[in-house]
Symmetry: C3
Subunit: 139 residues, 3 copies
């Protein structure tokens, strides 16, 4: 009986330790890109590059482009080359389908490697609910 209790306590301690180790393993960040301003779009690219350099494989990021920020991930994007490069390195880029409908943007108008989500803001909320940090990517 006593052994059983000790095991129970050890199991609890182990679960807690695992949860904390997991927390430190990865830096998960959801970025909100909601501006058409070219300088601010370039600013986010610069920041993503810095974070990748600093954190390497422990950096997991998703950029949600919505509203005027949808231009960040279309074929006419002023940062098209950089977005494609970062997508190839594992940064996730998604466009808001609501915004796409509103602005008549088709899937073929999006840069290669860019995914979509039904609602941009909902995606940002869901990520925060999963424990991701949130950064509003307009400066």
């Amino acid at each position: 009986m006593k052994n059983f209790l000790i095991l129970l306590i050890m199991a609890t301690a182990s679960v807690t330790a695992n949860a904390q180790a997991k927390k430190a393993e990865k830096h998960r960040v959801v970025f909100q890109m909601s501006t058409a301003d070219a300088q601010e779009q370039q600013g986010l690219i610069r920041n993503l590059n810095h974070l990748m350099e600093g954190w390497g494989d422990t950096f997991e990021a998703e950029v949600v482009a919505h509203g005027p920020g949808i231009s960040f991930v279309t074929n006419q994007s002023v940062v098209a080359g950089e977005v494609k490069k970062l997508a190839a390195k594992g940064i996730k880029f998604v466009a808001c389908e609501n915004t796409m409908k509103q602005k008549d943007i088709k899937h073929s108008d999006l840069l290669q490697g860019v995914g979509t989500v039904p609602m941009g803001l909902a995606e940002i909320v869901l990520k925060q609910e999963e424990g991701w940090a949130y950064i509003k990517g307009n400066f």
Copy 2:
């Protein structure tokens, strides 16, 4: 004794399961409205409507209007009708009392159904402390 332990473990498991179910039950979001820009104010309305359509009763939102964004919830608001409609559907709107004092805005200047909080930013912090997601509602 053994039965008691089994009960204890079941109770613990049940508490954990409930906590997770509760987390999924509601999407709680606090929005910061801090701009007087009409287009950005209309953008937040559009987003609130989309989230209500998508999430229905599982969407719980509070919009905190402060600084220049206080105009979002006054009688002169460019989105007065939409704010009143969303308030009637259960979205909570609150104005910052500090901003009201600073701009000499009275309670009677606020749209019907709009509440107040002593400090707008403090309210946003308190909501995050309670586990709500945060969205800066200027785009």
Copy 3:
């Protein structure tokens, strides 16, 4: 044995109660200052003062100045006096070293009492990972 179990349950309850008490003890907030706009910089000062008045010793804040917002904490800052006063009262101000390199800003160009961090956005993410609330300080 029964006593041991009661102790175990009491210990669990006590840990939970402590966690909640600790949560309420301090309001920890990381602010992102990323704009050179004088009015918005003054707005953040006003908000920091309000929060200090309202929350006193239970308010713990760190302001991360990066990108165009770096001007907030340099010797030419339009809010230099206010930043120094708030720093003396315990508000922490840090400048992004990446931005400093990019804009050729030296440590001696920073206001007294201002620290630095390797990457501004990384600092904001780390604070969120530690449970701090996040406020984007441009309005």
